[in-house]
């Protein structure tokens, strides 16, 4: 992101308490103009609470939220140029699709004619023009979802909030909507703040992702950052599949940390800040950055026996018991150019690391 990017939503030291329970513990983050930003975390992590605070449905216990530099904490929801796509869509059941989509414009005081025209345009954007006169109950779940999207986009808000809008759709429809949402964001230039617990969805769509857990921001960055350079155990474990190993750091030489794990297997990877020799820390090894061979390819390979091979379509996952150590999962692609090969259970193999496969995690 360029340095001079305008900031759409600035959350500063926001705290949310419900009685004795703290839902958000001092969160600070800046969401850029025209960005597809995702709040990612397991349920109960505070992501929806933060979204509702931005929308104005929850007040901020401490701290402040700014919209393009202006404090909005005192504004009720209807005075914020921010619209929401609700998880259950919340389409008004007594209004037609067109009336639903035109509702926001009408409330803004636009003439009936203008509200209709712009609602029509919004419906066109989500390819539902032919359903304008239907009632919401006559639409499928996917269509209702699009109407909710059109309704929230029609007044052209400065920021669009999406609260797990795809969670009720089946996998195929969800994938199609992911692409469409991304496309709509580009087309409209509106800042999207998307809430999800689905890490794959977050990686697919987002410009940047904020990973949250237990009311705290764990890591903020682009998809690649978060996947390849997780900051802590939670992020490494929550995003994608990984082998989490407890290792002991033996020495640090020239930016490389030499470690060993149970069974005496030696590993070397990039050192990270805050790690000293003798420390017991976690290491994350992504299964697809590992590969198997019959003979060790370098003197640092880990040796073990194949326990099981699992065919999963695009990939094959091989589970290996390291000699005297923990269990590893190695993923290899099933493409003809890939490196999948079949090992009988019990075969002795070497587990090799691609360069940069291991990542040390502080806490």
């Amino acid at each position: 992101m360029p340095q001079n990017t305008e900031i759409a939503i600035d959350v500063r030291d926001a705290v949310k308490r419900y009685g004795p329970f703290t839902a958000l513990k001092k969160i600070s983050l800046s969401i850029h103009d025209n960005e597809f930003f995702t709040l990612l975390g397991p349920s109960g992590c505070g992501k929806t609470t933060l979204l509702r605070m931005i929308a104005g449905f929850e007040d901020v216990t401490e701290g402040a939220i700014f919209l393009y530099g202006e404090g909005i904490d005192a504004l009720p929801p209807h005075k914020r140029p921010i619209n929401t796509v609700f998880q259950n869509y919340a389409l008004f059941p007594h209004m037609s699709v067109l009336e639903n989509v035109g509702f926001g414009l009408e409330m803004l005081g636009k003439s009936k004619a203008e509200a209709r025209a712009r609602a029509g345009e919004a419906l066109e954007m989500v390819q539902l023009s032919q359903f304008a006169t239907r009632m919401p109950s006559q639409l499928s779940g996917g269509q209702q979802q699009r109407v909710a999207l059109a309704r929230a986009l029609a007044p052209r808000p400065k920021v669009l909030l999406l609260d797990e809008p795809l969670s009720a759709l089946d996998l195929k429809l969800r994938k199609a909507m992911q692409v469409e949402l991304k496309h709509l964001q580009r087309e409209t230039g509106i800042t999207f703040i998307f809430v999800t617990h689905d890490q794959e969805e977050a990686l697919t769509m987002s410009d940047r992702i904020a990973v949250m857990s237990a009311g705290e921001l764990q890591q903020l960055g682009e998809a690649r950052d978060i996947y390849e350079r997780p900051r802590n155990v939670f992020v490494a474990d929550f995003i994608g599949e990984t082998n989490l190993m407890e290792v002991t750091v033996d020495a640090i030489n020239g930016g490389r940390a030499q470690c060993h794990l149970g069974g005496g297997h030696k590993l070397t990877c990039d050192a990270v800040e805050g790690i000293t020799p003798g420390a017991k820390v976690h290491m994350s090894l992504r299964p697809e950055r590992l590969f198997l061979s019959v003979e060790p390819v370098e003197n640092e390979s880990l040796t073990g026996r194949v326990r099981e091979m699992i065919y999963i379509g695009t990939d094959t996952a091989t589970i290996v018991d390291l000699d005297g150590g923990p269990q590893f999962t190695v993923r290899s692609s099933n493409s003809s150019r890939g490196n999948a090969r079949t090992f009988e259970p019990g075969t002795e193999v070497a587990v090799n690391m691609e360069h940069g496969a291991g990542r040390l995690l502080v806490d």
Binding site: H78, F92, P93, H94, M107, Q144, A152
Partner: protein, 276 residues
Amino acid sequence: MAKPYDLRHYPGFLGVTLLCLLILYAPLGVVAVYSFNGSQSITIWEGFSLRWYVDVFTGPESAKFKQAAWNSFIIAIAAATIATSIATLAATAVLRAGKFRMRTLSIGLISLPLMVPEIVTAVATLIFFNAIAFERGLMTILLAHIAFCIPFAYMPISARMQGIEASYEQAAMDLYATRRQAFTRILLPLMMPGIVSGFILAFIISLDDFIITNFVKGAGVETLPTAIFGAVKQGIKPNIMAISTMLLAVSIVMVTLSWLIGRKDQKNLIQQRKKK
């Protein structure tokens, strides 16, 4: 092959059902049938006739009954309207104003009158009007009816409101509607089936009330139930059966109406939920 849990195969099912139906509906059936009797008798059938219905509208007692019916309907409509408005506001406060002090107490206070024996309410209301020296007449009946109709109107309204997710109003406010607009444009139309049911229930309860009315009415002021009671004291004549049958018909029409509205609406809501 019979299904093992088929209701019809429960031992004694048919007998118990028939007995219940008989106790519940036989008296009503007798009254309805004998209202069309051709003779003065209320026990011996002497052929079909509408003479007692004609008698209700043109006979010697017709003026008295017309006035009583007029009073009953005016009071029922006014009491149901006011009670329904109050119940709607009460339900909105209880279900939409979040948690406030004495919320549970409020719910209790609203529904308590349903549990209080009617005679107690009647005596208490009478003592109250006497204590403040409020002259008894149509007005005292109306005020008493409004008071006891509120919990009846409240029940279907609050039941309906509980089924309306708060996200509808939030969506409206998110789309630039003020609190008031969210109420009038979204919540009120969605609550309408409950409000209509509440109104109809309150209307029937008011139309039908005897005990409280009899206590608080002024001398010479009658509603249909008190007029019928007064007439019965002088002996049961078939014209009373005709009036009763007409009252029954009004009730059946109202209840059917309320049920039809509820069913149509329920279907819509269920359809939409299923698709999610």
